[in-house]
């Protein structure tokens, strides 16, 4: 039995603490598949999360993992990538974590465009804390805290990411694994910050946005959708009504943090750079 995540050879998955039937169970194997098909080495992959049900993902797959604080997945993730660009850094966490407590990091890391991938398990509810409204919960959704129904407009993460300037923005559904694997692979390969908002049924606490209700409404973007056309992306993102479009809304290359940073661009990874002591001596001398 190797239950300790030392499997550096392949992306094994481990026993989870999720509820039987949870949408998370469909996402984990997609991640595994995407990583495997991309031929990545587990020891070069770093999975980062905050706290929540989705945020346990790094505990369930054999790769390097960092589960930090609730809401604070992005800052350590981008910093780890800055420290060592050889790592494939993937943030995988909940929508409460990403857009609620962590909302400020969300918009500002889009601005940085560090080359990481952000998978958000969007179950439109706070799962681990037993079912309060999340930033994407619908108006009227009744919970133990929103006892008269949620009255705050839900965020549209896909639109928000576009408005904040993200270069790769997608939506997926845990129930469409084929599409999800492909989007995951594309997102990981995209050079820059890539957001995938993954609709994920929470069978324990979200009785509004169920598997069936998603299944009926999701609708992959058609081939006519041009993901390099910003206005098409905005239009798809703001589409209201019964259908929920899925797929890659927008994908254009933008200069990344690394390519723009004088210390990182065209240099070896930060972790491999050393500063010659003579340079420190120069600085000391500059004060004499």
């Amino acid at each position: 039995m190797n239950d300790h995540m030392h499997q550096t050879q392949s992306f094994d998955t481990y026993e989870t603490a999720w509820c039987p039937g949870c949408g998370n169970f469909s996402i984990l194997p997609c991640l595994q598949k995407a990583l495997t098909q991309l031929n990545l080495d587990p020891h070069h992959v770093l999975m980062v999360a905050g706290i929540g049900q989705a945020a346990k993902t790094p505990q369930y797959i054999s790769a390097n993992g960092f589960c930090g604080l609730h809401g604070r997945a992005l800052p350590p993730a981008i910093a780890a990538k800055i420290a060592n660009e050889k790592l494939t850094v993937i943030v995988e966490t909940g929508e409460g974590d990403s857009y609620g407590e962590g909302g400020n990091h969300f918009i500002h890391n889009i601005r940085r465009n560090v080359d990481i991938t952000h998978f958000v398990h969007d179950n439109q509810i706070y799962g681990l804390t037993k079912g309060q409204a999340s930033p994407t919960s619908e108006i009227g959704h009744v919970t133990g805290v929103q006892t008269n129904g949620n009255i705050n407009q839900p965020l549209n993460p896909v639109f928000l990411a576009l408005a904040a300037g993200a270069g790769f923005v997608a939506r997926a559904f845990s129930g469409d694994q084929k599409q999800l694997v492909q989007i995951m692979m594309d997102a990981i390969q995209y050079p820059g910050y890539a957001l995938v908002d993954i609709l994920q049924p929470c069978i324990s606490f979200n009785k509004v946005n169920t598997f069936a209700s998603y299944k009926d409404r999701v609708q992959p973007l058609t081939d006519s959708h041009d993901p390099t056309d910003f206005s098409q992306a905005v239009q798809a993102a703001t589409q209201t009504g019964e259908q929920i479009p899925t797929g890659i809304f927008y994908r254009v290359e933008k200069p990344t943090f690394h390519t723009r940073h004088p210390v990182l661009a065209d240099h070896s990874p930060l972790i491999e750079q050393t500063c010659d002591p003579s340079r420190i001596k120069d600085l000391i001398q500059s004060f004499v």
Partner: protein
């Protein structure tokens, strides 16, 4: 003998550059220099001043006894003339109105206008001051280029030369031997320490009085190959620093108390994930926004117990510019050796003060690297239970092993656990690191003799004023009733208690001297030694106590105690 110069004016009048040039010239002349800066929290207008004190012997702090005032506006005179010695001088422009016999009105503005740039009046004044101090006018030439844009150098040189002609030597201060020393601000000394320690990543959000650290590091970013990232907030800053450290590069964050408040949760993250981390808190008066550009030592108790739950940490208070460099290096090594967060407490007084120091030495510099697991193991445990409490730390990317960290309680492999047994083992393991840490704590520095009647205790930046105060108080002789010594802590939490209990055992009275309202180190001392400070000297108006204020306070206490 020291000479104490005050340069005053409104924000935006350039007193900062004038002071920077003058202090460097004084150092080049060989003097020991200590400069303090008193700014208002505004960009233009208001009243700011800088005090430059210099002499042939080491100068440890500032004083309010002025020898010379360089007044760029009238307010400077009205606010400070009372502090000027009877035979002092007030250098000011000829147009200045002020009723003071010590006035030396000079055509500073007229000359600068003649030279073609009204902004060089400061340099004219520098020339005059050099003449008054009997310095060779050439001293300015190598200095000006470091502070001025190239195109302004020659006009400023002319200004200095013109100013030099306006006065005769008035002071003759024997020279020191600091020509080859450094002069730099506290923030820069700390930043330099971090660079020497191998810093690779600094994330911070601007906040006075800590911003100077970020600015200096950013300036050296390409020279030293480090990344300095301005975070969207302080929460991001510390979580970034933790992420970078986890990924294997030395990292640091810095802020003042308000930003530190936002970092509190992540301090515990570093604690439970055992990620080495250095956090700088450059203190200013609180609560909340308080007095943004002034000084205080009121975050001590806060930082020693900040964050929910319990985990080992080290808090080091900066006493002077040497500490700011060497203790910063040590902080990185101890953070790595024990895999803990180390908090550096500085304050506005030190951060903005410049001082002459012997060039920092890199001779004994060692940079610790993460403890590695034995080569032959197959089952790597990041949080292996060890006697020292320290476990092997593999960096992600290592082809031998994967590594996982979690803010939840976890087992030896870093996997979430709810087992009571494992929880106990993990708490004990983390806490055991304190045993080793405590063994290498540095005892406080003793100023004066081991046997004393009154023992002053202070910490951090109170070092300089205490140094001056003890010297003055013991002019009357060290071994008479009421003689005074001082202990000044740098390592402050865990509190090193050996030297304190030893010396306190012989003293009649302990007096804590602190820049806060509640006497915070007295509380720590009571808690960890049982010793009570019988009296306190406290100040909390945002202005650093001087040696004279301590002297006056202690004399009063002595009168009562030894009447």
């Amino acid at each position: 003998m020291t000479v104490n110069v005050l340069i005053g004016g409104a924000a935006g009048q350039g007193i900062d550059t004038a002071a920077a040039i003058l202090e460097k010239i004084l150092k080049q002349a060989g003097y020991h220099v200590f400069t303090v800066r008193d700014f208002m929290s505004r960009i233009r207008g208001g009243h700011n001043f800088i005090q430059i004190r210099f002499g042939s012997e080491p100068v440890h702090s500032h004083t309010h006894n002025l020898d010379l005032i360089l007044a760029l506006n009238e307010e400077t005179i009205s606010l400070h003339q009372a502090e000027l010695s009877d035979n002092g001088l007030i250098v000011c422009d000829s147009t200045t109105h002020a009723d003071d016999s010590r006035l030396l009105p000079l055509p500073l503005n007229e000359i600068s206008k003649k030279l073609g740039n009204p902004r060089v009046a400061g340099s004219v004044a520098i020339g005059t001051l050099m003449a008054l101090f009997g310095l060779s006018p050439e001293l300015a030439n190598p200095v000006l280029p470091s502070f001025l844009n190239e195109k302004y150098i020659s006009i400023n040189q002319k200004a200095v030369a013109e100013g030099y002609k306006l006065a005769q030597q008035r002071w003759s201060v024997p020279s020191g031997s600091c020509q080859d020393w450094m002069i730099l601000s506290g923030n820069k000394a700390l930043a330099l320490g971090a660079l020497a320690a191998g810093l690779k990543f600094y994330a911070a959000y601007p906040m006075s009085p800590s911003t100077g650290i970020m600015e200096y590091l950013a300036e050296q970013s390409t020279h030293c190959g480090i990344v300095v990232e301005q975070a969207e907030d302080e929460i991001a800053a510390i979580n970034m620093a933790i992420g970078a450290s986890f990924a294997g590069v030395r990292s640091m964050t810095g802020t003042s108390g308000g930003g530190f408040s936002l970092m509190v949760e992540a301090l515990g993250l570093a604690g439970i994930t055992e990620t080495p981390l250095v956090v700088v808190d450059v203190q200013r008066p609180g609560p909340a926004t308080g007095l943004p550009t002034r000084t205080e030592q009121s975050d001590l108790k806060f930082v020693v117990s900040a964050s929910q739950g319990e985990f080992p940490r080290l808090v080091i208070a900066m006493r002077h510019h040497q500490d700011l460099f060497y203790q910063t290096i040590r902080a990185f090594n101890l953070a790595e050796r024990y895999q803990i967060p180390v908090i550096l407490l500085s304050d506005q007084y030190l951060a903005d003060a410049s001082a002459t120091v012997l060039p920092f030495s890199l001779d004994n510099l060692t940079i610790e690297t993460p403890v590695q697991p034995p080569e032959d193991i197959s089952d790597y445990k990041r949080y292996q239970i060890t006697e020292s409490g320290v476990s092997p730390r593999v960096i992600p990317g290592d082809p031998r092993f994967l590594t996982t960290a979690d803010s939840d309680e976890h087992d030896e492999w870093g996997r979430i656990t709810e087992s009571a047994e494992v929880r106990n083992q993990m708490v004990d393991k983390r806490m055991r690191k304190l045993d080793g840490l405590k063994r290498e704590l540095e005892e406080p520095e003793l100023i004066g003799d081991e046997s004393c009647d009154i023992l002053l205790v202070g910490w951090g930046s109170m070092y300089g004023p205490l140094q001056e105060a003890v010297a003055t108080l013991n002019q009357e002789g060290q071994h008479h009733p009421g003689c005074v010594s001082a202990l000044v802590f740098s390592d402050i939490f865990p509190l090193p208690t050996k030297r304190l209990t030893h010396i306190a055992g012989q003293a009649r009275l302990i007096v804590n001297v602190e820049q806060n309202a509640t006497g915070q180190i007295a509380g720590l001392i009571r808690e960890y030694t049982g010793l009570a400070c019988g009296r306190s000297l406290l100040k909390y108006d945002g202005r650093q106590m001087t040696g004279e204020e301590i002297v006056a306070g202690i004399r009063k206490i002595r009168e009562v105690a030894y009447e």
